[in-house]
């Protein structure tokens, strides 16, 4: 079995809101093996991005353990955290908002190198920045350009170069292609796969685009309202989805064929409020198979077949 790089146990992140606590991430468990990609999917507001940020400690978790290379990083102090930033990086969703408009391309890429004092002098810095730019496919002439002069794809390349600058092992990709044109999406996805091969990177790839996640992931985690409902190898998940929510989600992928008649599972009912949720399966209100028992107690994540985890208590009934 491959070595686990990151493992998350009972992770919780609650936000205090006016009338209670918003359970953004509620009791999430998963792990990512070294060199692999975990795709995290789910509808907007289900806590995918929050999970990514909590894992990086950009947000502090409410409870749970985050084990990176076996060490619980939730207990890290400031200087340990600073060193951890060299290991774990993030690529953001919106390449228009994630780059400082007053800094040039080279200044943005050089910043992590300067913060962690990874270069000794100006020449070395210039050389390193130039090599990073060529790694992500940015032309040398853009060295002193400002982000607003570039298109979305090139900006996202800057974001990737900035993340790569510190030579990380693990990168959280928070919907890195959803703000881009379809043609550019492919370029960026290919670039990210190439980089993964070249540097042996491990990705946590957050997206709501199922075709993207299928293309890039080894394992896929499906989230619903802050909880993990299904975790399985990518192929297995698409071939044999078990959780009713996953089934509905997969049935929504458009198939580019006129003859193809696919039965879409349409979900009825309203999304349960994530603020002070009642015990019971979060999906019960919309689930076509829900029973009384589902609304009474939380469903637990079980391993159905090797590597395939599902959080649904009435799985046997559905079959």
């Amino acid at each position: 079995m491959a070595e686990k790089l990151l493992e998350v146990r009972n992770l919780k992140k609650y936000f205090k809101v006016k009338n209670g606590y918003l359970h953004a991430v509620d009791n999430v468990n998963f792990f990512i093996n070294k060199g692999e990609t975990l795709g995290v999917v789910g509808e907007s507001g289900c806590g995918k991005s929050t999970t990514g940020r909590v894992v990086l400690r950009l947000l502090e978790a409410t409870d749970g353990e985050i084990l990176f290379e076996g060490k619980n990083i939730r207990t890290f102090n400031k200087s340990q955290l600073r060193d951890l930033r060299k290991e774990m990086q993030i690529v953001f969703q919106d390449p228009y908002a994630s780059l400082n408009p007053r800094m040039t391309v080279s200044e943005i890429i050089a910043e992590p190198l300067l913060i962690h004092k990874l270069v000794k002098n100006k020449q070395e810095l210039d050389k390193k920045v130039a090599s990073l730019m060529s790694t992500v496919g940015l032309a040398e002439r853009l060295y002193n350009a400002y982000p607003h002069e570039l298109d979305g794809g090139r900006r996202q390349r800057i974001g990737i170069a900035r993340a790569l600058a510190v030579n990380p092992k693990f990168i959280v990709c928070d919907e890195p292609v959803s703000a881009l044109d379809v043609s550019i999406q492919a370029q960026i996805l290919n670039l990210m796969q190439d980089l993964q091969e070249e540097f042996g990177l491990t990705y946590m790839f957050i997206t709501h685009d199922l075709s993207v996640v299928k293309h890039i992931s080894d394992n896929i985690a499906v989230m619903y309202l802050g909880q993990l409902v299904e975790l399985a190898p990518a192929k297995e998940l698409f071939k044999n989805p078990l959780h009713p929510y996953t089934k509905a989600l997969l049935s929504a992928i458009p198939v580019p064929s006129i003859k193809h008649k696919k039965e879409r599972i349409l979900l009825k009912g309203e999304i349960t409020s994530p603020i002070n949720p009642q015990p019971g399966c979060r999906f019960a209100k919309r689930c076509p198979h829900a029973t009384d028992a589902c609304t009474k107690q939380d469903s637990t994540l079980r391993e159905i077949s090797p590597g395939h985890f599902v959080a649904c208590d009435c799985l046997e009934v559905i079959k």
Binding site: R53, L56, L58, L81, R82, R85, K86, Q89, I90, F92, Q93, D94, A97, S98, L99, N100, P101, R102, T104, E111, P112, I115, H116, S134, G137, L138, A139, E140, R141, L142, Y143, N144, A145, Y146, H148, G159, R162, A165, V166, Q187, N190, L191, Q193, D194
Partner: protein, 298 residues
């Protein structure tokens, strides 16, 4: 797998880093009113710098000559003489020194104090924000000219106290402006990105937040210089500002008001100059505001 690279990568030289401020100037240069304002400000600054060359201070601007008092404009005294026979043109030239100095230093003081307080309040939020901003609200409830009068009367009238008083009295407006822009910047992704690469709070504030929050402060500062000059003139008019015989626009205005009926020029010219300066600064400020707004990109 295809690795996409830039097609124009063969261009040999990388362009020089262009300053954002040069870009702003280029955009502003299309605005005629703003350039008019800028021209007047430049002339005033040059006048202030070379005041001693234009008119010697001791002999012309200060020395009284009662035989020539209250003369109208002539070839010898372009703008006439005041009630002590001093050349009004020369006094206006030297007054520019005081006015510009007070205007710039006072605004500098308020930007420094107000900007720091606003940045701290906006960045840390919560209790710190509440304490700072409520204190600012209390300040705002006092009319700023009244506050300036109170500070000057407490500390005694001197050039530095004047600058300090005017500066402090406009601290709250800068604190509010900076806090508002910091608040909107704080949740931007590039700030989070900076935190993700391990940047310290200090670095985030100085390298990422302040440069992006500067534009509205510069606009307000330009308009603020006009306000400070006006306040100086006002305080000098009531005798709390620059003390005679030093030439200052406001005190010149005040000195001439007794002779308004038969020597119109004594008050008219300082008044006109104050008006033109304020107008120029306001035009420049408006032009800067438009040029700094990225949404108006041409």
């Amino acid at each position: 797998m295809i690795k996409m690279t830039e097609t124009q990568a063969s261009v040999p030289t990388t362009p020089k880093k262009r300053s954002i401020w040069l870009e702003v100037f280029r955009r502003m240069s299309k605005n005629k009113m703003a350039m008019f304002g800028l021209a007047i400000i430049i002339i005033l600054v040059l006048t202030a710098v070379f005041a001693d060359v234009i008119a010697p201070y001791e002999e012309v601007a200060i020395k009284q000559n009662l035989a020539q008092r209250l003369q109208g404009p002539s070839a010898k005294h372009w703008l006439g003489t005041d009630e002590f026979g001093r050349d009004i043109f020369a006094r206006l030239v030297h007054g520019a020194r005081v006015s510009l100095k007070v205007g710039i230093v006072a605004v500098g003081i308020s930007i420094l104090i107000g900007g720091t307080l606003g940045a701290v309040a906006g960045y840390y939020g919560g209790k710190i924000d509440n304490v700072i901003m409520r204190a600012m609200d209390i300040f705002l409830a006092i009319p700023s000219i009244l506050l300036a009068i109170a500070i000057v009367s407490a500390l005694g009238p001197s050039l530095f106290n004047l600058m300090l008083a005017i500066g402090i009295s406009s601290v709250p407006s800068y604190a509010r402006i900076v806090r508002a822009s910091v608040l909107s910047l704080r949740d931007q992704e590039f700030i989070e990105a900076a935190r993700a690469i391990g940047a310290s709070d200090f670095r985030i504030v100085t390298k990422h937040i302040v440069p992006n929050a500067l534009a509205p402060v510069i606009v307000q500062g330009t308009l603020g210089v006009a306000g400070a000059i006006l306040s100086t003139a006002g305080l000098s008019f009531i005798g709390l500002g620059i003390q005679p015989p030093a030439p200052e626009w406001g005190s010149m205005l005040s000195g001439g008001r007794a002779y308004l009926r038969y020597a119109w020029h004594v008050t008219t010219f300082p008044g006109l100059l104050i008006m033109i300066t304020i107008l120029a600064l306001n035009l420049l400020g408006d032009g800067l505001r438009d040029a700094l707004d990225p949404k108006l990109k041409q």
